[in-house]
Symmetry: C2
Subunit: 502 residues, 2 copies
């Protein structure tokens, strides 16, 4: 039995290596690759992914997983090996249901659709994208049909690509509750006095911005012996092994927030990936539990830590020292108010903590309507604008900065692309609140700009487990509670009541 397990691990290691290789190819494409490399790179990535998929779905893997059932039952449920067999079997059984040709067709569609989107968005040409979106709805429904017996069309997509264990209906109910809290909060804030934030848009030299951001994530615990930071267009984090987890960012010299909070955000993702126990390396367990779980950590470090007053009590003097000309005359309170300014705005990725989720939930609801045939692709721009007006009080002046702003619907299956952002926000407050309650040293340390206790708790309770437990289980093990919006709403209420004298 041990030799079967060894063989399974050897096969999974090959898959892991190839997936890591594909990530290296994508990282290079997004950071350094010259334009001339585009065509060949697409082909290289496809070749490597195909090999990884073929190796994973090999019948021999299925046979080994069958043969290992008794070993799995003999081992404790939460042991590394039982978890490996359990999770791998689920992955395998899902993967073999999806025909290779289908994914080939899908990737061809995505390539064309993405290409057209890069043209249509700046041209504000929604009409051109309608057929691509129609096709994407079809692809998404067809994908779901490989997994008959679902409750919502989105469920198999969520299971496969995002947050296994959360059903669409459940997420919709939770999101509806959250929306009920957030819409009035945003409205009340809109009626309050706006904080001054002009000083965030002075000129901040690139190298200095990068150095400050990196200094902060190092303080969080990001290990640069096992990571690095590079420049890109759309920040992301990528993992080549637990010994090589890289973050990327982009810098706007006339906007201090952009690179800073992107770096803290990606730093959170990287802490998660660097914190997976090395024993899980080379297996499907050596990554985060889900999209939402991952986002909970990036948002925790970016917002609950990185936009908190206690954080800036320590770090604002350092920031001021670096940018004395730009920020020398700004007080801590002014700075804290400015980086937390709430303002309905068009672009999701630039939104503040309160309105951000309104963007996400709106998208998730429209996705359900599209998947269930209640909304036609041709009508989605109007539906987006109507709901945007309703939730955020402003109407997008065009589709470019409206429904076309994100590439998700033109490059990914519907239903699974957005929910993780808000699930992550909700979970971030649950994780953070539990950590603070269970380990009082965390608060003491944070007042000194030290994060060892917080990072330690998160490693023990979340990061170290990798993908051994699905997000709902991980959350419940760590916090004792299922998904609940209460801690998140309490956090926002307390913070923004104080900031805006609500």
């Amino acid at each position: 039995m041990e030799s079967k397990l060894k063989e399974l691990k050897a096969r999974l290691l090959e898959v892991y290596d190839l997936e890591a290789v594909s990530s290296v190819l994508q990282w290079d494409q997004a950071t350094y690759m010259p334009a001339g490399g585009t065509r060949a790179r697409a082909q290289q990535i496809r070749a490597v992914r195909q090999l990884a998929h073929d190796k994973f779905t090999d019948v021999a893997v299925g046979r080994l997983l069958d043969e290992l059932r008794t070993l799995e039952q003999d081992l404790p449920y939460d042991s590394d090996d039982a978890s490996l067999i359990r999770i791998t079997r689920e992955d395998y059984e899902r993967a073999i249901r999806v025909p290779t040709d289908f994914m080939g067709d899908f990737h061809s569609h995505v390539a064309e659709s993405y290409q057209e989107w890069t043209r249509a968005r700046p041209a504000d040409d929604f009409e051109a994208m309608v057929p691509y979106l129609e096709r994407m709805v079809e692809f998404s429904r067809d994908f779901a049909d490989f997994f008959p017996g679902y409750e919502s069309v989105a469920d198999p997509l969520i299971d496969y690509f995002a947050d296994e264990g959360y059903k669409a209906s459940e997420v919709q109910a939770i999101f509806a509750d959250l929306r009920e809290q957030l819409v009035p909060m945003a409205e009340a804030i809109a009626d309050s006095v706006e904080p001054e934030d002009e000083f965030l848009y002075r000129h901040f030299p690139k190298e200095e911005q990068l150095a400050f951001g990196l200094e902060v994530v190092k303080r969080f615990g990001y290990d640069l012996e096992r990571g690095r930071q590079d420049l890109t267009h759309h920040p992301f984090t990528t993992t080549f092994s637990t010994g090589d987890v890289r973050i990327t960012t982009r810098v706007h010299e006339n906007d201090l927030r952009s690179a800073l909070f992107a770096t803290l955000h990606e730093g959170g993702h990287a802490l998660y990936e660097q914190g997976v126990r090395t024993k899980l390396e080379g297996t499907p367990l050596a990554r985060g539990a889900s999209a939402g779980a991952h986002e909970s950590q990036s948002r925790l470090w970016e917002n609950l830590v990185g936009r908190s007053r206690v954080f800036w009590e320590v770090f604002f003097p350092a920031l001021q020292a670096r940018f004395s000309e730009q920020l020398g005359a700004v007080s801590l309170d002014e700075f804290y108010a400015a980086i937390n300014k709430v303002e309905p705005s068009l672009i999701r990725v630039e939104a503040d903590e309160v309105t951000y989720n309104l963007h996400v939930m709106l998208r998730f609801d429209l996705e359900q309507e599209l998947l269930e045939g209640r909304l036609a692709a041709a009508d989605v721009a109007d539906a987006y604008n109507a709901r945007f007006e309703q939730d955020l009080g402003i109407t997008p002046p065009d589709n470019r900065d409206g429904v076309l702003q994100d590439m998700h619907w033109f490059g990914h299956f519907l239903g699974a692309g957005y929910l993780g952002y808000t699930l992550g926000n909700i979970m971030s407050a649950q994780f953070f609140g539990t950590a603070l309650r269970q380990r009082p040293r965390i608060s003491d340390e944070m007042r000194e700009g030290v994060f060892d206790a917080l990072h330690g708790w998160l490693r023990e309770e979340a990061y170290g487990h990798g993908r051994k437990f699905k997000a709902p289980e991980l959350l419940e093990r760590a916090t004792g509670q299922p998904l609940s919006i209460e801690p998140y709403v309490d956090y926002l209420t307390e913070k923004y009541t104080a900031l805006y004298n609500l």
Copy 2:
């Protein structure tokens, strides 16, 4: 028949992609990878290489190559397709003779040997490397024995890894002739007045050095839409596709020569790779003809162009403008003499044009003695020092900067690692001389700092063909002559007679 050819090309494309992927992994390792990534990266590279090897040596490839014999015979010898079938068959027949396990053992040996060399070299510990070198001699002999019927043990190694078409005995004879010319030339120079070169070792800021080098290689014709430059420890050029050919360099702020000539050298390699016709892309023909042919181009651009007086007539004013404080008071003649200063020195890669080849030829001769059992590994340090004293007039004070300075013998098969450097120098003069004779515009343009005609001739006569012709054939097609030291000796004699008033 066309469909068989198509199938062959599809299979070769898979191999090409995987080899390119392996190159991306190695490039990243040598440029940006954090230390923590080392272990996983070795595994990723091994996995991808193994897949490429397995795909290439698949029996189906052999069958297709057999079936394509008649098509090959029907096509003109120098057509792309006939060349593809011919060269691929030779590659295939060689590749299947080498057992996969043998190469696995070899790579394990190399990994350990290289690791030990990184320790032993700084510690000046030759004794520790003796068993590794003994093992390398065995590996090299065993490899040769997969190709029985050779004249010299080195011949199969040269065929497989370096310069197919040149036999060791032939190379030894040519090298002996060259040495007879170079040793007295170096001695005569040693008796002459040394040029002043102190100003090359002033402080030259890194960014300025990088910018100048890149400006020059762009003028040569290096296309940055299809390439880029990054920093590394040991400069190299790497190809991911004809649309993505990258150079690397390193900068010493107190030595102007180091990055500058390394960049020109790598730029030459890159021009070769960027110049392969795109029709050959994705096949085994889409790279340079051989190690020596490649080196002929890097050395041509580095030395015959980049260390020439006509080049600096145009570029020295630009260099002075960039480094006015350091070079403002230096004359063109002083600068030209300084960058061409001949001086016996310990380190091959830092040697001048005249003494460089003495290092190479010495190594090549010792390799033959090792391979043929005329020299024991334990005696190689003494043999190296004795020959060094004989050829260069100085004795290495230690093994660190003597026999241990290069990793070749501890990381590659013997016999094939060095000869390309001097073959390249010899060929560079043949190519360059022919180009100047055949196209007078080249000289006119160069006086204006323009290289289009030279680059164009080299693309037509060499780069464009990729690996369609082996180096001896390529050389003869382009220059009408077989390998001959005369043009090279004439070049050196003329240049250094003038420089040193010999």
